[in-house]
Symmetry: C2
Subunit: 350 residues, 2 copies
């Protein structure tokens, strides 16, 4: 049994967004009032796999869920994580609503294996909270989705209404990279010169957000909050936890609202997805790294279908990774995070 925590689906082509956009905002879209700043880094080979033509829910079932035996697939809709970058706040809010209605009426309705991500405009946290309450009760909606790139680090109290709504609706707060470099530069120093560097730098954003969520006491304010970091890799987590714990021991009096070690908050509240899976020179290193970051609790599987650096669940893991750990990563961790049925004990993944 497999839960794929990152399946990209697009509102366009044979499955368009337009019917779901409120009439009074349609002209805003056709006249490009939904513009957002670009980051200017392009993968010269394109982002999607060229071997697939995938435009509808039936395509995703036929090309992905069925052949790989995916039990549940968590959607990354587009429009989705980058809606928060749109300059015009009302247009961003309207697009978020349209994306959610589109998701419900197309993918979620098509197959119960599809699980939805509530698209929100984090630039307008109160509107985002209202949208979470509007559609978050749909039984297949499991998380909200936003981008690593934002005006503020996630611990900023501006986002508290969003966390409050997530907790109230029982939804995970998820972030996905992609708009890094559009509001800010994608590194703390400046804008790199290449897509290669830009892609290397994506986990930096997640590292900064985790530090912020811990330090600002977000998990003390919202004890039910669960955070999912999608497509940023996982191996940077161990060094970050070590550094935060060591610094906290020396500086805890500056953060009197924290009652636990930073690592304890992160390990309880945060999960990460595998893709792009790390491929160290020795496969043993990945086994050791997974032990360091407690992958048996923290890591969930994702393919990033249908993107260029797609990970196939049959080939992604080194063979020496214990089957019990593979099962936790492929299914159990995500099932526990999203409140899905437990794996049947006899069903061991291949």
């Amino acid at each position: 049994m497999i839960i794929d925590c990152d399946i990209h689906v697009y509102a366009n082509g044979k499955c368009p967004l337009e019917p779901f956009i409120p009439a009074r905002f349609r002209e805003a879209i056709t006249s490009r009032q939904n513009s957002s700043p670009g980051h200017g880094y392009a993968n010269p080979f394109g982002v999607d796999r060229r071997d697939l033509e995938c435009e509808t829910p039936a395509d995703v079932v036929r090309l992905h869920l069925d052949p790989l035996g995916i039990t549940y697939g968590v959607l990354q809709p587009q429009p989705g994580y980058s809606v928060s970058m749109i300059h015009a706040q009302d247009v961003a809010n309207a697009l978020a609503q349209a994306s959610n209605d589109w998701q419900i009426e197309t993918y979620l309705r098509h197959d119960p294996r599809f699980l939805g991500s509530v698209c929100v405009n984090l630039g307008d946290p109160r509107a985002a909270a209202a949208e979470i309450r509007r559609v978050g009760g749909h039984p297949q909606m499991v998380q909200i989705i936003t981008c690593g790139e934002q005006v503020h680090l996630f611990g900023h109290r501006a986002y508290d209404p969003v966390y409050e709504a997530c907790c109230e609706m029982g939804l995970v707060f998820a972030a996905h990279p992609g708009a890094e470099g559009s509001l800010n530069s994608s590194t703390p120093v400046g804008r790199p010169s290449s897509y290669f560097e830009w892609h290397n730098s994506l986990p930096l954003t997640f590292q900064a957000h985790l530090g912020s969520l811990v330090a600002e006491g977000t998990f003390e304010k919202f004890p039910e909050l669960r955070v999912m970091l999608v497509e940023g890799g996982v191996s940077w987590l161990a060094p970050l936890l070590w550094r935060m714990d060591k610094n906290f021991k020396a500086l805890r009096s500056t953060l009197p609202w924290l009652r636990e070690l930073p690592s304890e908050y992160v390990l309880r509240h945060c999960r990460l997805t595998t893709q792009p899976i790390e491929e160290p020179s020795s496969p043993e290193f990945l086994v050791q790294m997974y032990a360091m970051l407690k992958a048996e609790r923290t890591v969930c599987f994702s393919t990033d279908f249908p993107h260029w650096d797609f990970d196939d669940p049959r080939r992604a893991f080194p063979s020496r990774l214990p089957q019990s750990l593979k099962d936790r990563i492929l299914y159990d961790n995500a099932a526990e995070l999203y409140g899905l049925p437990a794996r049947k004990p006899e069903e061991v993944t291949a």
Copy 2:
């Protein structure tokens, strides 16, 4: 035998900078024309250890080199790594010169165990190159020192004159954190709220710089260039190398000037210092992590004397770290980097 790669010394108190400042720039200093932007993050306990009164070369010998048996100590002078942040370029250049003359006439003259770092203003790369050529021939000068915070990522060709001068004079290019958040924010998203977060985020800058140095082909342009990253920790290196190598395999046609894997450039050209040494929950993790990042070649010991998070060479390492690896970290790696005498085979450190 021990080489300490990070000893902070200050031009003030009993060992002032003033006599070394050219007369026509003295008024600029007293009237604060040496100002630079601040980052606004303060350690509430101060940065220096409170149990030490350390103002002169003799103090550092008595309190640090002698009691710990330091064979060589690489100085971090102040003024030093943050001179490049000063708004007024001529003042920055003058201060860099003064710092170097001060270092030579005070610390380097006092004890042959002291090794110097050439202070440069990276904001004026041609002046920096001239300064490297002016004082870099001093037999105790082993590196140039600048800050992780800069206008450009280190791979930017604006800095090529500096790398050229380093190679010509046989000096290592070293960077030290400290000014992060003064020119840019210290994270890719925005300014965090606490010193704790700021300190957690310092390795992000080094990760971005390494990606830039690799991607821009700096090590192809300057095959003799050696880079030392001081006080940013080391454990983030393994995940970064894995991510860069994986991305390079897919994107190498976008970087046609590179002839090797990113990890090969980094492992040959770059070294890092231990402090603040990582303290994972299990000491075994550090042993494994050191294997992942090839610490037997890449990691050099440092104490960060006399700062608050000082590491004592007698206590810093977990006991299960093999003595042969400890010897490489405590002495051999830095000796090879800086061209110092090899460790005498019989001298094994305690």
